[in-house]
């Protein structure tokens, strides 16, 4: 069996299992309520919660974009282990209070907390809009990754467009059947496949001939800039990335919904205590794979960042039968990582559009807004969102890492509202709103003007600093001392 045919067969089997899990989740539903569909009835236990947080946090970009970045940047990309962990550090700040409030007030979407904390419709709408735009971009990145990965890793047996269309249909199928319950259960399968895929990558790394020590020695001799201490600008980018990813990753709306969906505070604590170590089992092997690619692919000029992993896997698959099957498992693991992120984003985005944007309009017009109807509207949004994004994804232009940065630049503007709102009682709604608007305009303006980074610092982080500054100064100015 050729590599391409084996990939097609493995993916077909994987999709069949996803469909089965979707049907089981449909049978397990207790009602048509929003909490049942979008939060799995608030019943996610520690193990499922861990897998769904893991599979959601680690995306196709982690497995496909990051080896390319390690190949391009060299050893400074070891920062990727730290910045994935930084997300869990920020969870420590926001999750305990968010979880406690959600137990009392039964939140479904992040906007429910914003309404509860600030009671300011303008702030809720603007913050929600920024988050929705950011995660829509993120979902688009996942759809494009699905197409690139299956086309690249199946040796062209599955064309890019077919990969996007078939995997999108699979996601819509199980998600519309079972909501978050289906997404979380499939996340468990996808998390296991991701772990197997990473095991395959590690095994391929160990058994592929060149050890990491030899690769490092080669880089020191031939491309020393990638192995010597990074320069001052790269150090600034390193610090900026830690903050940008840490704060934006923790306020992913889909991650916040998982805090609401946890069965108990204990489940959440257990999940986070394990999640803190997973960068070492996920991002670190992926970083090492990119480093190993440096001597191996050095003869190829202009290796596109996203093509490093496919090129390595094809090479490893031709070495032995055992390596062939490990490479196939890695391909399925990569596809699983992408799908598990895409399905979570899609579910959250549709819940935000239906519950936070459409339901208030219906209520104002005096129409019926029972939960089953909002859930049905959300399912309609899922179909519409995927239709629009698939159309865009069929004309890919930029690399996965570029897309991720654009998304984070926007998403991080929601972080001051959540972090300050949960930790500082004096934060006022008007000041927070002015901060979000100011920060978003600065970040988007700099990015669109071609200043994605200034002296190594991301435009999004500069926007977030301005955002937090306006929010703090405005809050202090709006209330007299001792109030």
């Amino acid at each position: 069996m050729g590599f391409g045919s084996a990939v097609v067969a493995a993916l077909a089997a994987y999709i069949a299992v996803l469909a089965f899990l979707g049907l089981r989740a449909r049978a397990a539903r207790a009602s048509e309520s929003l909490a049942d569909f979008y939060l799995a009835g608030r019943g996610l236990g520690g193990v499922v919660l861990l897998f769904t947080l893991y599979a959601t946090q680690y995306s196709g970009n982690t497995l496909v974009g990051y080896p390319g970045e390690a190949y391009r940047v060299g050893f400074p990309w070891v920062m990727s282990v730290g910045f994935m962990l930084a997300i869990v550090v920020v969870y420590l700040v926001i999750a305990p209070r968010l979880r406690a409030a959600s137990e009392r007030h039964r939140f479904v979407t992040p906007a429910d907390w914003l309404d509860h904390r600030f009671g300011h419709p303008g702030l809720t709408r603007v913050t929600n809009l920024v988050m929705a735009a950011a995660i829509a971009n993120y979902l688009l990145a996942q759809l494009m990754a699905m197409g690139h990965v299956v086309a690249g890793l199946s040796d062209g047996a599955i064309p890019y467009a077919a990969g996007v269309l078939v995997l999108t249909a699979a996601i819509l199928g199980y998600e519309l059947l079972g909501g978050l319950r289906a997404v979380a259960w499939t996340d468990c399968l996808q998390g296991i496949l991701l772990a197997i895929g990473l095991g395959g990558l590690l095994a391929a790394t160990v058994f592929s001939g060149e050890g990491i020590g030899e690769a490092t020695a080669w880089v020191l001799d031939n491309q020393p800039a990638k192995a010597f201490r990074p320069d001052a600008v790269t150090q600034a980018t390193w610090a900026s990335t830690l903050l940008l990813i840490g704060f934006s990753g923790a306020v992913y709306p889909q991650a916040i919904q998982r805090i609401f969906a946890a069965r108990s505070g204990a489940s959440l604590r257990k999940a986070l205590s394990v999640l803190a170590f997973l960068p070492f089992l996920t991002t670190l092997p992926v970083f090492l794979v990119g480093i190993l690619a440096l001597p191996r692919l050095s003869g190829l000029s202009g290796v596109a960042a996203d093509q490093v992993l496919p090129a390595l896997l094809r090479g490893w698959a031709s070495e032995s039968e055992w390596m062939f099957w490990m490479s196939i498992l890695t391909v399925v693991g990569v596809v699983a990582a992408i799908m598990s992120t895409a399905d979570s984003v899609l579910l959250t985005l549709s819940s935000m559009l239906a519950k936070d944007f459409v339901a208030p309009v219906l209520a104002r017009r005096g129409a019926a807004v029972e939960e089953a109807r909002i859930t049905r509207i959300g399912k309609g949004f899922s179909l519409a969102i995927m239709g629009v994004l698939v159309a865009i994804a069929l004309t890919p232009r930029i690399s996965l890492w570029g897309l991720l940065e654009l998304k984070m630049e926007l998403l991080v503007q929601a972080a001051p509202v959540f972090v300050l709102g949960l930790t500082w009682p004096r934060l006022s709604a008007k000041a927070a709103l002015a901060g979000v608007i100011g920060g978003t305009l600065l970040a988007a303006g700099l990015t669109l003007a071609g200043y994605g980074k200034i002296a190594g610092v991301h435009a999004g982080l500069l926007g977030a600093i301005l955002n937090a500054g306006i929010a703090v100064a405005g809050s202090l100015a709006s209330r007299p001392r001792g109030d």
Binding site: F75, E103, G211, T216, A276
Partner: protein
């Protein structure tokens, strides 16, 4: 439900995490050729060690410094 214990009420935790992260960026390392330790440039190994220490602190805080009174 009120939090009985919250990681935020332990400022030392976040000071330690910030210090470890600051040290994980190799601004302190010399500009010369690094030696190879465990197959990696020495500064990258120290960076990973700092990051692992942060993982341990975060895991400890999630289990021991956060109590919502529900267990």
């Amino acid at each position: 439900m009120k939090l009985r214990r919250d990681p935020l009420s332990h400022p030392w935790l976040f000071v330690a995490i910030a210090a470890l992260y600051a040290f994980s960026i190799p601004w302190w390392f010399g500009a010369g050729r690094p030696s190879i330790v465990l197959g990696l440039p020495s500064w990258a190994v120290i960076s990973l060690a700092c990051t692992f220490a942060v993982s341990c602190l975060v895991s400890f805080a999630a289990r021991r410094l956060w109590d919502d009174g529900k267990d």
